[in-house]
């Protein structure tokens, strides 16, 4: 396999063989190692010394179901630490098939000098971006697929990334004209913008098949894995994930009092009934939309949707739980059509819906809009693409917005906005938000999925649960697996080992695999330590420790000693 290095200073590309030390790393694991070894931890996240890394997981391109995520990473302008965010679409699968372990974007182009990186099989080149800059991600994807082929994969930023705003993410196209798969979190779109890279276009590989050390071993495990997913009561064709999408949990999170409402001031939203997955499915099907669609080729879970307006015109594909929470209940909105419109705007500008929803909530608390008033909220959001000062502020994320507007109730940890679970009512997620080297990120270890193991409202067992989940998340993010595909692997790690050993012939045992997953966290924590992050950064905001959250009237009260010792057992 090979690495593609792109020097934006010199406008040069070069291929390298993968050094032996990186051979057993993929996705998040490879990103963590490259950051620690090649990026000065105290560097400016938007400066030339930072590196933006695109890497498929270890199973990318193999044909295993739900294993084609693309990891993107860099030093984050929000957390100031190591960041990885991943997206569906066709990029992970395509890079894996091409034998490209990582694309590393280095340096920084002269200001205003925008480029597009085109990868065609074994060659790559930087091309002038021409008339593409200034476009949102929808137009960018359309233009580039018209130019380079409808089957190509486009990875792009919108206006928010071009302006280097901290809330900017990176958009990846999928099969059959699909848009809006986002590596959304941590401001990675701003890093891409800082490099002067508007987009990457990857031609669809033809006739490329990855080699297997033991194809029979791999195929048997991959088949068993897919079958286990199909049989899972949550994930199969009769499961709630497939039928109702990620929005299937709206009602449960709301009922448990953890649904962010009006800038995290309540955990129960009175208008949640029309935000639920059940309602989303009903409306979508009645308008001729789609449910149960895929974000990655061959995924058997298929939890996406295509949400239509009342005239049966597609607004967005897909409307997801986190977006519904942060752009819906968190802003006092109970109308899915309005949430979908805000979602589309974020997707087009290239903004993380979590970070932006939180920033809008903070701005409304400062009096710049009204909770529940779509018009005032959409006017605020539209200013991001217009590049006004207020728009740039909101696009910079929740912490920046709170600091400038004098609001202390900012739902963020380690510089990054919290996702759709208030940590006061789901305390395991609070531990993850405040201790993960990734900052407040549910994908770094989501305790909602383990709610039966530990009382979500209690403090007992939360640190052990969070650590376990953080190790699992590191595994998922390094193999390219979707986080929803974790149940069969947790139940039987041998399935993963057989897939990896069948693909690479490493002869890994459970201990090797466990050590590798733990090492990802150790590497990221070390990068963050060298970057200057301390206990003062790894914390839940003070107001959440003092201000009881209705309806359970609970604060975040996991003892500081527990929070400080999460990684003692790593």
């Amino acid at each position: 396999m090979k690495l593609l290095r792109v020097d934006m200073n010199q406008s040069l590309v070069r291929w390298e063989s993968v050094p032996p030390v990186y051979e057993r790393l993929g996705g998040r694991a490879l990103i963590a190692r490259l950051l620690l070894e090649e990026v000065p931890p105290t560097c400016d996240a938007l400066g030339p010394k930072n590196k933006l890394i695109f890497s498929p997981g270890l199973l990318g391109g193999c044909g295993a179901t739900a294993a084609g995520r693309l990891s993107v990473g860099a030093k984050s302008p929000l957390t100031r630490g190591a960041k990885e965010a991943n997206a569906g679409g066709t990029a992970g699968d395509t890079l894996g098939k091409l034998g490209i372990k990582a694309v590393v974007i280095e340096g920084r182009a002269p200001k205003g000098n925008w480029s597009i990186l085109r990868i065609r099989g074994d060659s790559a080149e930087l091309l002038p971006a021409g008339d593409v800059p200034g476009s949102g991600t929808y137009r960018t994807s359309d233009l580039l697929q018209e130019r380079y082929g409808a089957a190509s994969t486009v990875i792009s930023i919108g206006q928010a990334g071009e302006m280097c705003l901290g809330g900017a993410g990176i958009c990846v196209t999928g099969e059959a004209g699909q848009r809006s798969n986002h590596a959304a979190r941590g401001g990675l779109g701003a890093v891409m913008g800082s490099k002067g890279l508007k987009a990457i276009v990857i031609d669809k590989p033809v006739g490329k098949v990855v080699p297997y050390a033991d194809e029979e071993l791999f195929r048997t495990a991959a088949r068993n894995f897919a079958q286990k997913l199909i049989n899972d009561p949550k994930l199969g064709t009769k499961g709630s994930q497939h039928l109702y999408g990620t929005a299937s949990i709206v009602a449960a999170v709301n009922e448990m009092g953890a649904f962010p409402t009006r800038n995290f001031s309540n955990g129960n939203f009175e208008g949640s009934e029309t935000l639920r997955g059940e309602y989303l499915r009903e409306v979508t099907l009645s308008r001729g939309g789609q449910v149960g669609t895929r974000c990655m080729p061959g995924c058997v879970i298929a939890c996406r949707n295509v949400y239509m307006d009342a005239n049966s015109k597609a607004i967005v594909g897909t409307l997801q739980f986190e977006t519904i929470a942060l752009l819906g209940s968190n802003l006092g909105l109970g109308d899915l059509d309005e949430v979908a419109q805000l979602n589309r705007m974020c997707n087009d500008f290239g903004l993380d819906t979590i970070e932006t929803g939180a920033a809008l909530g903070v701005a409304i608390e400062a009096g710049l809009g009204k909770f529940g008033d779509f018009e005032s909220i959409s006017r605020l959001l539209a200013q991001v693409s217009e590049g006004t000062i207020l728009g740039r502020l909101i696009g910079s994320g929740a912490v920046a917005t709170g600091r400038v507007l004098g609001i202390r109730r900012v739902p963020a940890a380690v510089g990054q906005a919290m996702p759709g679970y208030d940590p006061r009512s789901l305390k395991g997620n609070g531990v993850t938000y405040a201790t993960s080297p990734q900052g407040a990120d549910h994908t770094a270890g989501n305790a909602f999925g383990a709610r039966k193991e530990v009382n979500p409202l209690g403090t007992q067992g939360q640190k052990e649960l969070s650590l376990k989940l953080q190790i699992i998340a590191a595994m998922l993010d390094s193999t390219g697996l979707c986080l929803f595909a974790r149940p069969p692997i947790i139940a039987n790690p041998q399935l993963m080992l057989d897939m990896l050993n069948g693909r690479y012939g490493w002869g890994w045992a459970v201990e090797d695999y466990d050590r590798a997953n733990r090492e990802v966290l150790r590497t990221e924590l070390e990068f963050n330590r060298r970057a200057g992050l301390t206990a003062a950064d790894y914390r839940i905001p003070e107001y959440m420790c003092d201000e009881p959250l209705p309806p359970h009237n609970v604060t975040f009260d996991v003892p500081t000693s527990d929070m400080a010792s999460v990684f003692e057992a790593l």
Binding site: P233, I249, H442
Partner: protein, 74 residues
């Protein structure tokens, strides 16, 4: 005890989504599930007044009982 019950997701086609039940004093959650004809194997989460609960937990007057199918956070 008089209680409000709500069913979510795939559980609701079995009976109306929201119902009001009158059960014996100190009745456990399981009694409500049986009365509604729910298959215990299809229930992934139970809450009473928003607090995670189990089949053996006692129902209280005017409580709100919710049954959810298996769901996954993400």
């Amino acid at each position: 005890v008089k209680i409000t019950v709500e069913l979510f997701g795939q559980l609701s086609p079995l009976s109306p989504r929201r119902q009001f039940l009158d059960l014996a004093d100190h009745a456990p959650v399981q009694d409500a599930a049986i009365l509604l004809g729910l298959n215990a194997d299809e229930i992934g989460l139970i809450t009473i007044n928003g607090v995670q609960s189990e089949m053996q937990d006692q129902l209280t007057s005017d409580c709100r009982l919710c049954f959810f199918p298996y769901i996954s956070g993400g």
